[in-house]
Symmetry: C2
């Protein structure tokens, strides 16, 4: 049974058939059911973008576990004016093969439709496995002349141009399209938001030492942007969970993280955040490309505890201010405007 | 009298009239007569790019001091299929107003022709003067719907999209289009390549201290990519001077610099190079965007002498290897291919 978010939201019940009507459609594949709140926020932001900027499109999400059934169902009703998308995030490459396989299937199926790979970071490992995965993706992407890949950082832009002959465009992560949330909650303590996956590079001993230092100044807690419960998230439940995590972030004096979206949530809520690296620099590059001027955010490769505590103290004192990234989504706007104009 | 490099090179004499023939033309404005070898190398690289990739175009350079006369002369012979360009570099903005004025004049004159602003860094100062300059540039650029701005780093891409409504594309600096030069010269000592302009942020006391440290290991010399003589450079003399500076760089054990193009020349010649910042991060951003994986190059914001000497020692031991940025000029290729196809 397909879960189509658009209908689900409006009817409060899952439906098993795609809508057939006169509206042009945006089919977003890969909507995450898993509990990574970064990826959840990306899919939410893509929906918000369309609702605000291209409301004429009926926005239909196909959940990650429904990719195969969704492809079959969409093939039956799709028109030339309809758009196919695959959700954004930091999972294009060889580290999350199940997701990459779904992306390939979608791209090589809808070769006659404008196909948008929403802003991603890319990382194919430099070993036999990574190279084989890259070849599979190259073959799939090359079969779609209407595919446009969006990179969310300059490193990914460079890598995508090298790996693929498709058009590559450069915008921020979709979550940075969302409006800032000035929640004015009481702030207390430090929250460590840390990954537990193969991208982790911080050692546990370093984390423990840094926690001990910060514990002298106030309460210290540890969490992750990947939730332990609920077990699954749907387009119905994700917005509330997204608001909850923003509130959690916004009630801290400082965030210490190696999670790209912990940084982004801190940007949105004006929460001081010190970001450390992951295995291939996706947070680092996005920081330098888009967020270097946001005074309450800092990326660091530092390992010296004295320097790190100075950085954290400085962040806590940093002034808040407006920032403006809307103009940097222009290439996405223009792609969709040009497509829409063709069918009017 | 106009100096047109193409004719000058071929005839060994300046000519006072632009050529009229059946070939489509590429008019490159802003070719530097001043002795900044970085800017000289940029104009040389643009010429090499056209000679290699689009040889059907007659490539005509108009020197910086000839902008007004050149505009007048070009207006009389230009056709729809001809292309107008303004040279690349790190001078778009309010720091070099004479250059920016020429750029505005060119952009607002040839509004019916494909107009290419070759890869630049952008910096308008955040003060009354900078904001007035920005408004003048915005008005001029906005009058040309066929203008495409190329940014050579992600910070500039972000800033250009915010400042201008023109299309903005993202490629490396044009000098990185040139082939590496493996000169195999005997290497000795350290060369400090340091700016003397308003973009300088390194202090003289810091430089002296670092020179003293490196002087213990071998000869230390100081220079700049801006030559003291000759007083002027022409398209005839620049290639030899370019080869000379590459040889100078390639005969050092290490380059210490705050010059973007000292880094680029070090990339091309496999010379270890530690790059420090300028006033607005143009070298830093280009490093992270394009050169982070080049093992003999390192950008640093470090001020601790011990850490800096460790970085230099590591660079001297770094392995050389191939690197590949050709794919990252694709957006320039495609723009020119699309334009060329329209007139075939």
């Amino acid at each position: 049974m397909l879960m189509m978010a658009d209908f689900f939201v409006k009817t409060s019940a899952p439906v098993s058939e795609l809508p057939q009507n006169d509206r042009p459609k945006m089919f977003l594949f890969g909507t995450p059911s898993y509990t990574n709140m970064g990826d959840q926020a990306v899919s939410l932001a893509i929906r918000k973008y369309f609702e605000l900027e291209f409301p004429q499109y009926q926005f239909i999400e196909i959940m990650d576990y429904d990719t195969h059934a969704g492809i079959k169902a969409v093939k039956e009703i799709i028109n030339a004016r309809d758009i196919v998308g695959y959700t954004g995030g930091g999972n294009l490459g060889s580290l999350y093969t199940d997701i990459e396989e779904g992306r390939r299937e979608v791209f090589k199926t809808f070769t006659h439709n404008l196909t948008i790979s929403f802003p991603q970071s890319i990382h194919f490992e430099k070993n036999d496995y990574g190279e084989k995965e890259l070849e599979l993706s190259q073959a799939a992407y090359a079969s779609n002349p209407n595919l446009v890949l969006f990179a969310r950082d300059a490193q990914s832009f460079r890598r995508m141009q090298k790996a693929f002959d498709n058009h590559v465009r450069f915008t921020p992560d979709m979550v940075l399209f969302l409006e800032p949330r000035i929640l004015k909650l009481k702030r207390q303590g430090a929250l460590f938001v840390l990954r537990h996956d193969g991208e982790k590079v911080l050692t546990e001993s370093f984390i423990t030492t840094l926690k001990d230092v910060l514990a002298k100044e106030g309460p210290v807690e540890r969490t992750d942007t990947v939730l332990e419960n609920p077990a699954k998230i749907t387009p119905v439940t994700r917005e509330r969970l997204f608001e909850e995590i923003l509130e959690k972030i916004a009630s801290q004096e400082v965030i210490v993280s190696d999670r790209f979206h912990a940084m982004v949530f801190s940007v949105l809520t004006q929460t001081p955040c010190l970001l450390f690296g992951n295995s291939y620099g996706k947070g680092k590059h996005a920081y330098y490309d888009w967020l270097e001027n946001v005074k309450w955010i800092q990326y660091t490769d530092e390992t010296d505890l004295g320097r790190i505590t100075t950085q954290i103290d400085d962040l806590k004192k940093a002034p808040v201010h407006d920032f403006e990234l809307r103009a940097n989504f222009k290439d996405l706007d223009r792609l969709l405007q040009a497509h829409t104009a063709k069918f009017n």
